[in-house]
Symmetry: C2
Amino acid sequence: MAVRLADVAKEAGVSQATASRVLNGSKRKPSEEIADRVRSAAERLGYFPNAQAQALARSTAGLVGLIVHDIADPYFSSIARGVQHGLDGTGVQLLLSSTGRDPDVELGAVRSFLSHRTDAILLAGSRGMSGDDELAAALTRYQENGGKVVMIGQPLALAGGIQLDNQGAAAELAQELLKLGHRRFAVLSGDQSLATARDRVSGFVEKLESSGIAPVVVREGAFTRDGGYLEMADLLRSNDLDLESGQVCVFCANDVMALGAMTAIRESGLRVPEDVAVAGFDDIPTLGDLVPSVTTVRLPLEEIGRMAGEFVLADGDDQRRFVVSGHPVLRESTRKV
Amino acid sequence: MAVRLADVAKEAGVSQATASRVLNGSKRKPSEEIADRVRSAAERLGYFPNAQAQALARSTAGLVGLIVHDIADPYFSSIARGVQHGLDGTGVQLLLSSTGRDPDVELGAVRSFLSHRTDAILLAGSRGMSGDDELAAALTRYQENGGKVVMIGQPLALAGGIQLDNQGAAAELAQELLKLGHRRFAVLSGDQSLATARDRVSGFVEKLESSGIAPVVVREGAFTRDGGYLEMADLLRSNDLDLESGQVCVFCANDVMALGAMTAIRESGLRVPEDVAVAGFDDIPTLGDLVPSVTTVRLPLEEIGRMAGEFVLADGDDQRRFVVSGHPVLRESTRKV
DNA sequence: AATAGATGGGAATGCGCTTTCCAAGGTAGT
DNA sequence: ACTACCTTGGAAAGCGCATTCCCATCTATT
């Protein structure tokens, strides 16, 4: 890249130091006349500061890293959008890594972020992280060096961030479904090594049990659309649900699972909600446009992302945790018949 | 950040040059014994190269910038996922900017990418860019300085990239719908200042007209879910469709618009496809799980992103254009009754 | 055995910028 | 009028690394 600060300085007939002070928010403001000269020189030459060099000199990069499981998943893309908004206008850029939930890729991403000296790392979604994990170690070292780690969605011993009250919200949902008169439940739990899935399921099931009801069946599977589809199809094939005894309400640990499950239900010739009621979790954007519309727990995903984006810019030692709660949204898919 | 290459070198008892050669893929490979010493020293100290400094010294950053209109839109998030995949294993990191289609934000993002000396800039989605645009100017300067510009989805005079044959695919869709027996069409065109929307609509309409059919009505609106919803609702209220004369097939310039439109249709008490048939464009992931399933044009979005991600790493002067075609997927929403 | 050539390691320079630290000029206070 | 202080611009020292020379040590050639 061609034009450097030194060129601008020469063009303006001032020292490089002065040029730097004019063009980049320094404490010291040169006189208005000189400033004008510098600015117009910069303009004329088409000067762009080299962020790398600035980062090196300032030892702060103006970058934050965001790690998500899958950017194509509406859950994460909504969060990403929020983060982006939270960062708007600050000049901070977002480094994105979509890891496909692969721990190695995740570790690689964190390492890369460390290398790029991102000012903060945002981790969205939960992961089974044991304390002696390499990932945990890398993050800890990062923090020791002044980096900020912010969790989105799941707490982490070592970091603050935005938490979701998955358990509480799931309990609320269970309560509402009970109120509607549902008594027979199945649970598609997703991958129980994920804290998010675990909390949602435990919140739901415990609430049921405290009302004296045990789910007919709880099935584990992938925490994805296909996971929901496959498990539901399998479940229907197994006949464990004993649908002759009446409608069953299936709680899916997230919305995309619910989507898959609903397709499986339809493909086996059953109706939602008449034969099988379905509830999801997250309230991803398209959910309201479905037929039947799907009961879920509304999570302010974008807002969560925004909070995280803003929080990231705050004081580096701020380790607060914000808990965001979600609330049930009852729609047609859980109509009691 | 604490530990530098110099520290590693000292720890290993070698010069910084040697340490550098060992740790970062240099041509010259020091002897195996020395290399081991250096590597173990690096390990012991927990050394991470400073990407900023490397970038400065190497004058290449290992970054590419991706600009999308809205990362929460499945169209773009699918592409982003593909790009990420295309970059996998290369060590290149993705700088993401979701601009909300705001030209100023877009320009800001490009400027920021220039500052960060990204090796390439990927622009997804179309934009009304006149030749004398500031954005075009910035991109041109970027190219002159060795940066690579890659368009995804829309051609741009100054850059290569992956194009979509929106027009051809839309024509194919029209053809198929005609084959199904549809004769009365409405078009929700989205924002016609976007080349993507324009091409899709023109391809569709021209095909109709070459068969002697003119759409009953073409309505412009936002290229979003809400745009589809609002225009459709409005359209139904206006009664321009004259539904008593029979089923109308509504072509929406993208899938999320179709989603919104379908909700509007249902809310007004009509049925899809019995009263109004609906077709979209893109084949976003959730589309097959809907009821009724929605006819659309399948675009290999993720594949497109992946191609772009890989293309980006190719020779800087490679200005080729790849044209990706899409094909109709007929589903229930356009069943002829 | 003598020398050209190859190999391996180190000192030093530069990437582009920020930021002390200095010096010079100005202002105010007594 | 003189000292004390504030303001302004400039010189120069890094920030952490890659890389170009350069020198020393080895190997191959005749």
